[in-house]
């Protein structure tokens, strides 16, 4: 009979084990993976484009061109987060305040990704190549080809900044 309290307390504890342990789901805070662009000068220092900047995304499907305004008349721009399309190629049309235009063409591989049952799926990308026109900007460098839910720089856009502009 001395064992009875022990047995009872064990049964009680066993009953608790039927309840699942407390669960904390850590879903990534950003549900969309964006390409990150940083503006730098010829020395690699961060620069700001003070005039207005509009960015239009362009996707070419089999029979049509789709345009999506991603950034509308932003000023003092030094970084950009732009969504890629689900196609193989996405173009970003940069419209500067002085009516000049540059077109960045990004070729990418799309990676549908399962995070977990509760957080769902999201699209990751791998940049395979990129090219740009050089009317206003100087060059484009891929610094990290993987676009996933870890926010990080993917591209550096070089501008030539003359002493007068500084």
């Amino acid at each position: 009979m001395k064992k009875l309290p022990i047995v009872c307390s064990l049964l009680l504890l066993a009953a608790f084990s039927f309840f699942p342990a407390c669960e904390v789901e850590n879903c990534p805070p950003n549900a969309l993976a964006y390409a990150q662009f940083n503006f730098v000068d010829q020395y690699g220092r961060s620069v700001e484009y003070t005039d207005t900047l509009t960015v239009i995304g362009q996707l070419q499907t089999a029979d049509t061109l789709i345009y999506d305004t991603l950034i509308n008349k932003s000023t003092k721009t030094s970084t950009l987060s732009l969504p890629l399309s689900y196609g193989d190629q996405t173009r970003f049309i940069f419209q500067y305040g002085n009516r000049q235009r540059d077109i960045i063409t990004v070729n990418h591989r799309n990676i549908p990704y399962f995070i977990n049952l509760d957080c769902g799926t999201m699209m990751f990308y791998e940049i395979t190549s990129a090219e740009t026109t050089t009317r206003m900007l100087d060059s484009l460098v891929i610094t990290n080809p993987n676009i996933d839910n870890y926010e990080k720089e993917n591209f550096k856009i070089y501008f030539t900044v003359t002493a007068a502009n500084e």
Binding site: L13, F18, L32, G57, L59, I66, S85, Y113, N116, G120
Partner: protein, 233 residues
């Protein structure tokens, strides 16, 4: 110890025994042999079945997990154990219609240490232990098509991946209790803290549930409830 020494000296003073010197020898012998003499190395085997996992599955969980443990008792103090189990998950999240499915056996090897090894009069004992676990499994994951949230939503990607192979290994720290209930039958419960050591991920997914480990994370915590039978050999 003092009573033993007393016994030794009493025995030494029996009629016909030698004098001073043999008394000393008897004392030393008693000291040396006392701890090992009483407990033989092999104390028996036990077999246990984990039933909390079966219970929660019967109560409607998407996950079924159960295992059989074969444990040896050495000197009533060291308890090496082998655990073989089976983990199964077939879950759909109603909110996003994602479906994850896997089922595979898993293995663990380790040892428990009986903290109450001196208190043999008690009906049970408390133990701490370590386990190394491993599993090799394949999983399926599927869900609704993914539609581009930008660019007019023109392009959709089907989301269905099956037969993805993975393997995982982990370490477990165990704290538990085992209590005799009737004759050779015992029951036990334990809390286990699991630390993932390795897992194979895929480009399109990470396993959501790992048999024997639980939901995939760097660590997990769970409770077990075992019915144990002490084998009669």
């Amino acid at each position: 110890m003092s009573s033993l020494l007393l016994c030794g000296s009493l025995w030494a003073q029996r009629p016909g025994a030698h004098k001073a010197q043999p008394v000393q020898i008897q004392k030393e012998e008693a000291k040396k042999t006392e701890p090992t003499e009483n407990i033989p190395l092999y104390q028996g085997m036990s077999i246990g079945v984990e039933i909390a996992g079966i219970g929660s599955y019967l109560l409607g969980s998407d996950i079924l997990n159960s295992e059989v443990a074969l444990q040896a008792n050495l000197k009533n103090r060291f308890l090496p154990v082998v655990e073989v189990g089976y983990g199964k998950a077939d879950a759909i999240n109603d909110a996003n219609n994602l479906h994850y499915k896997t089922s595979a056996p898993y293995f663990r090897i380790g040892m428990d240490y009986n903290v109450f090894y001196k208190k043999t009069h008690l009906p049970g004992y408390l133990y701490v232990g370590l386990r190394y676990g491993m599993t090799s499994f394949s999983y399926d994951v599927d869900g609704p098509s993914m539609t581009d949230p930008n660019y007019g939503g023109e392009i959709s990607y089907p989301f269905s991946y099956s037969g993805l192979k993975s393997n995982a290994s982990w370490l477990e720290g165990v704290l538990g209790l085992k209590v005799k209930i009737y004759k050779g039958f015992c029951m036990g419960w334990s809390v286990r803290y699991k630390m993932r050591m390795s897992i194979k991920n895929h480009e399109n997914s990470v396993p959501w549930y790992v048999p024997g480990f639980g939901k995939n994370a760097s660590s997990s915590f769970n409770l077990t409830y075992n019915l144990i039978y002490n084998l009669p050999f």
